[in-house]
C-alpha cells in the first residue's frame, strides 16, 4: 500500500499533472537510475527510451523540457554518433538560446575529434 502510494506520488509529480510547461518523460528518472546503478541499462537503451518519449510528446504538441535534447546528444556522443550528437545539441540551442555557450563548446569538442 505504501509502495503504491509512493508510486502514485511519483506519478503525480512526474508526468500526469496538468498545467505543466514541459514534457519531462524519463529524463530525470533515467539520470538517477544510470548514476545509481551503473551498467543497469546501456546508453543505447537510454537513448532509445528518451527518443521515443520525445517523439510521442512532440506529436502531442508538448514542449520538450530543458536539457533533454542535450542529454540525448550526450548519450549519442558516448555512442560515437558525432553527427547525431551535434544535431541534438543544436536542437537544444534552438529551443533554448540560453544553452548556446555550453552547446557550442560541446559541438566544437566533437568537431575536434575524439578526446577520450
Amino acid at each position: 500500500m505504501t509502495r503504491f502510494l509512493a508510486l502514485l506520488v511519483i506519478a503525480l509529480l512526474s508526468g500526469c499533472a496538468t498545467n505543466q510547461l514541459y514534457y519531462w518523460g524519463d529524463y530525470q528518472n533515467q539520470m538517477y537510475e544510470s548514476a545509481r546503478f551503473p551498467g543497469s541499462s546501456r546508453p543505447e537503451e537510454q537513448l532509445a527510451q528518451l527518443q521515443q518519449g520525445v517523439e510521442q510528446a512532440t506529436e502531442r504538441g508538448l514542449s520538450i523540457a530543458p536539457g533533454i535534447y542535450a542529454h540525448m546528444g550526450y548519450l549519442q556522443a558516448l555512442l560515437e554518433q558525432p553527427q547525431a550528437a551535434i544535431l541534438a545539441f543544436q536542437q537544444e540551442k534552438l529551443l533554448f538560446p540560453e544553452a548556446k555557450p555550453f552547446m557550442d563548446q560541446l559541438i566544437q569538442r566533437i568537431k575536434q575529434g575524439p578526446t577520450q
Binding site: A6, A35, R36, Y74
Partner: protein, 223 residues
C-alpha cells in the same frame, strides 16, 4: 490608551518578525534566465543523496520558467576538466563557470540530512538541504533557501499490531527501491522553489497571463 497603543505596536512588530520574504529585486534587476546546478555537497552518510538530488532538481526550476543546464552533462564536463568531486566544483570561480557554461545563476547546495529513521512501528523519511543561488557575472548571492520534507510511514491505521510491523517492514522494502525518498526530495525541492514567500519568482518561460500580485498584507489592526 497609551499602554494599549504600545501593546498594539509591540504586537504588530513581533508579528512581522518571521523569516524575511524573498527579496525579488535582484531577480527583477538582473533578469536571470538560466541556472547551472552544481553537484551538491553531502553531509549525509548516504552516497546516493547527491544523485537523488540532481535527478529531482531540473523539473522544479524548469516548470518555474528557467532554463536548467543539463545536469548530468555539466557534471561530466567538470569531471573531465579536473574537478573530481563536488567540493572541487564548488571552488571554481564564478567567472570561470560563467565562461564555460554561460549560465546566469549557479545553484550551490549542501545536503544536511537524507534518509530514514526507524522508530518502533514506523519509519520517517527525511530530507534537508540548504541552497544558494549566485549570480555568476557579479558573484552576488541573490537567494538562499532550505529544502525540507519528511514523511512518516504511518502504519498505525489499523489497530492490528502485526499489521503495524508489516507496514513498517513494507515501507522499508519500498524505500530500498528509492521511490519513496525520491518523492520526498522532489516535494522538498518543489516546495522550496515555488513557495510564495521564500521561493524564487517565475522565470522568463513562465506564462505571463498568470500575473497575480496579490500581496496578502497582514492588516489585523481591527481591535
Amino acid at each position: 490608551m497609551k499602554l494599549w497603543l504600545t501593546m498594539l505596536i509591540t504586537l504588530s512588530l513581533t508579528g512581522c518578525a518571521t523569516a524575511p520574504k524573498t527579496d525579488v529585486s535582484p531577480f527583477v534587476a538582473l533578469k536571470p534566465r538560466s541556472i547551472l546546478v552544481l553537484p551538491p555537497l553531502n553531509d549525509s552518510p548516504e552516497v546516493e543523496a547527491p544523485l537523488v538530488y540532481l535527478s529531482t532538481i531540473s523539473k522544479p526550476f524548469g516548470e518555474l520558467g528557467y532554463y536548467v543546464l543539463p545536469v548530468a552533462l555539466t557534471e561530466q564536463f567538470l569531471r573531465e576538466n579536473g574537478a573530481e568531486e563536488p567540493y572541487d566544483m564548488h571552488q571554481i570561480s564564478h567567472a570561470k563557470l560563467r565562461d564555460i557554461f554561460g549560465a546566469d545563476l549557479a545553484l550551490y547546495v549542501r545536503i544536511q540530512n537524507y534518509g530514514q529513521r526507524f522508530l518502533v512501528l514506523n519509519s520517517v523519511t527525511e530530507f534537508r538541504a540548504e541552497a544558494r543561488l549566485v549570480h555568476l557575472a557579479s558573484g552576488k548571492e541573490i537567494w538562499s533557501g532550505t529544502a525540507f520534507n519528511s514523511e512518516s510511514s504511518n502504519a498505525t491505521r489499523s489497530g492490528n499490531i502485526l499489521e503495524m510491523f508489516l507496514g513498517a517492514a513494507l515501507t522499508q522494502i519500498a524505500d530500498t527501491h528509492s521511490g519513496r525518498i525520491r518523492g520526498v526530495v522532489s516535494v522538498a525541492n518543489y516546495n522550496m522553489l515555488s513557495s510564495r514567500q521564500y521561493g524564487i519568482p517565475p522565470g522568463p518561460y513562465y506564462p505571463v497571463e498568470e500575473e497575480t500580485s496579490t500581496e496578502t498584507a497582514e492588516v489585523n489592526n481591527s481591535n
